[in-house]
């Protein structure tokens, strides 16, 4: 593929609001995971919660979109000059020539959970205030964001579980390559809810303490919430800003099981190979791999197989989920932004909370931060249903 510039990008998650908060926490090795005190979940676990969502209010004309997920979507737009960059792009290309492709796994399902606790005791009806379309429907966040950004180009929301907001890059790249749009806002938002907290608990995939990716004694995931966005433009568009670029995308399916990864990591391997091919790069060109690294027993073992098969034990790799938690449908964009920050500011973050790397692992999992030049990063996102996406970011020449 031809590289696409990320002319603006931003992340909001448990580490704070905007890129500086995320990067400072990465460099300072400060995790955002805390004991779960959410009113809708009575579970002994840690979560990556975004502080202050209760105080966020949406613009009055879009108040019907109000729910935790869209509050997070809105909060996530307010940093790193993202609104200004999109406004400038809108001037350059026209509102109808900019696509909006977002990812989510559970959208605003928390609204439906709340509504189900308030059903009419006689008729069983859901309460009057509950609005399915503007809060819970999978398209809600995409619709909300395109209204905030006043964009009218092609738009939809991809929902492939934990690969959702990685795949948005691949879809946007195709639309741009075919000339169906001139620029694209990609990203994703997923917020904490009882469905995922109790659902992953029922699968015995949730750790009690903060998650420990690749640790010999890892016990499972910590669930987090996040919003993130990137504005994609063609390099020849003459836009200013940094020269960080999406270099390659690789997508695949495991065709194996709904909630367990392929035991040999076949789908993960295929996604990484396709991403490298798409970027025209060899494994040796990658300086750092941001692993999917959920800290579940199965994911980390299988991902290690796939990574070591392709990269041997040379390429430093690590997971940043010890900082943010697993932000599910927002993990792809969160880690895409982290990849870009690591390139821009020269950092390889070693996994935190991990005391001893699983002795069976063959890839080079790093546990200490290293400040050095990072030219290209591969970022992995794998989801339920065996849906995989790998992305390559780097500096465009």
């Amino acid at each position: 593929m031809k590289p696409l510039l990320l002319s603006a990008f931003t992340a909001t998650n448990a580490l704070g609001r905007g890129n500086a908060a995320t990067f400072n926490a990465l460099r300072g090795r400060q995790s955002g995971l805390r004991p779960c005190l959410l009113p809708f979940a009575d579970l002994d676990t840690h979560v990556g919660e975004v502080a202050g969502l209760d105080e966020v209010s949406l613009p009055p004309h879009l108040a019907h979109y109000d729910c935790r997920n869209n509050r997070l979507a809105y909060l996530g737009l307010q940093h790193d000059g993202f609104l200004q960059a999109v406004a400038a792009a809108r001037e350059r290309y026209g509102a109808g020539r900019i696509a909006v492709i977002l990812g989510t796994s559970t959208s605003g399902i928390l609204q439906t959970e709340t509504a189900y606790r308030q059903r009419d005791p006689v008729t069983g009806a859901l309460p009057e205030w509950y609005d399915y379309r503007y809060t819970h429907n999978i398209f809600s966040s995409g619709d909300f964001v395109r209204h905030i950004l006043q964009l009218t180009g092609p738009a939809y929301v991809i929902s492939t579980a934990c690969s959702s907001s990685a795949k948005v890059f691949a879809s946007a790249q195709r639309l741009m390559a075919l000339g169906l749009c001139d620029a694209a806002v990609v990203g994703g938002v997923d917020s904490l809810c009882a469905t995922t907290l109790y659902g992953f608990s029922s699968l015995e995939l949730v750790a009690r303490g903060p998650c420990r990716p690749a640790d010999a004694n890892r016990e499972g995931i910590s669930i987090g919430e996040a919003a993130g966005y990137a504005l994609l433009e063609r390099p020849e568009s003459g836009s200013r800003g940094n020269a960080l670029a999406l270099l390659g995308c690789g997508e695949s399916s495991d065709a194996y099981h709904m909630s367990s990864p392929h035991p040999e990591g076949a789908g993960a391997l295929l996604a990484m190979q396709r991403a490298l091919t798409s970027a025209g790069l060899d494994p040796g060109d990658i300086d750092y791999i941001n692993l999917h690294g959920t800290a579940s027993k199965a994911n980390d073992a299988v991902e290690d197989r796939a990574v070591s098969h392709l990269f041997g034990n040379d390429t430093p790799c690590g997971s940043t989920k010890g900082w943010t938690g697993h932000t599910l449908g927002a993990a792809g964009i969160t880690e895409a932004v982290i990849a870009c920050l690591c390139i821009e500011r020269g950092l390889i973050p070693g996994s935190i909370n991990t005391s001893e790397v699983d002795p069976a692992f063959m890839s080079r999992v790093v546990l200490e931060n290293k400040e050095q030049m990072v030219a290209r990063v591969l970022s992995n996102s794998f989801g339920f249903g065996g849906n995989n996406c790998s992305l390559v970011f780097g500096v465009s020449r």
């Binding site: 069983g124 399915y132 075919l178």
Partner: protein, 266 residues
């Protein structure tokens, strides 16, 4: 963008399969709304077929028919699964369980709640490790799915199975999202013409435009079209079934439309 429809699948009340429905869609036979037959796609292993929910069965039914008509090896096809709401029966079950003091969630229900559940079961049944994308665009999900599919066909030059489907939510969700009937459509789309090609579709690069959307002449099918986001496909299916050149205008966002040129293949 030019792409070819090599196979179609269809499942809706009174439209049990593309082969059985072509004459009805073309207006040469009368549409009679009948009770929906429960889809039972044979490509799913019997245990999976028994355990799967209505939404997965509905999607896989049309996927299977489309791919069989096209004589494509499903392992070779990428897929796009487009659904406005996904499996609302599972949403109902999960939210009902979470409203109880014990909050006991079934692990199987939970992993089947992902929007890409149908796509996951399809890839497991067929062994396809190709790209698979699941998406939603509320009432204009069909047009959005067609855009994503066409971009994959033209951009990656590969066959793409496009499936759009929605099963009506159970009460009490139904009152908040009142879909009138179940509907699924599958289209096997290819970048080049083959002996199986039924129609060529043309989508302009200036993809969105103002326009008057096509509706169905038959009152019963028009009710169906309006009652389910996947059934917004009906005017396009009718144009393909008539075997005549046409321009079909589908509703998209903000009053914009997606225009699709349809040309029959011999």
């Amino acid at each position: 963008m030019q792409l070819y429809v090599d196979g179609v699948g269809l499942w809706a009340p009174g439209l049990a399969g593309w082969s059985a429905s072509r004459e009805i869609l073309a207006g040469r036979e009368l549409y009679r709304e009948t009770a929906l037959e429960r889809p039972a796609p044979t490509i799913l292993p019997p245990t999976e077929r028994r355990r799967s929910g209505n939404t997965v069965l509905l999607a896989v039914q049309s996927a299977q028919e489309a791919i069989e008509h096209a004589a494509v090896n499903p392992r070779d096809a990428a897929s796009v699964f487009a659904s406005s709401s996904g499996d609302m029966e599972i949403v109902h079950d999960l939210c009902t369980a979470l409203a109880q003091p014990e909050r006991l969630v079934s692990p199987t229900r939970f992993h089947n709640s992902v929007h890409n559940a149908a796509a996951g079961y399809w890839s497991i049944a067929t062994g396809s490790q190709q790209v698979s994308t699941s998406l939603s665009c509320y009432d204009t999900t069909f047009a959005a799915g067609l855009i994503e599919s066409a971009a994959q066909v033209a951009g990656e030059y590969r066959p793409v199975l496009f499936v759009a489907y929605d099963w009506p939510p159970p009460p009490p969700l139904h009152a908040k999202r009142p879909l009138s009937a179940a509907f699924s459509v599958g289209m096997m789309l290819s970048p080049k013409q083959s002996e199986h090609s039924i129609a060529a579709l043309k989508i302009e690069t200036a993809i969105l435009c103002a326009g008057q959307i096509n509706i169905m002449a038959d009152a019963g099918m028009e009710i169906l079209r309006c009652g389910n986001p996947a059934a917004r496909a009906l005017p396009l299916l009718a144009a393909i079934a008539r075997h005549q050149s046409a321009i079909v205008t589908l509703e998209y966002l903000d009053g914009n439309c997606l225009q699709v040129g349809v040309t029959p293949c011999i």
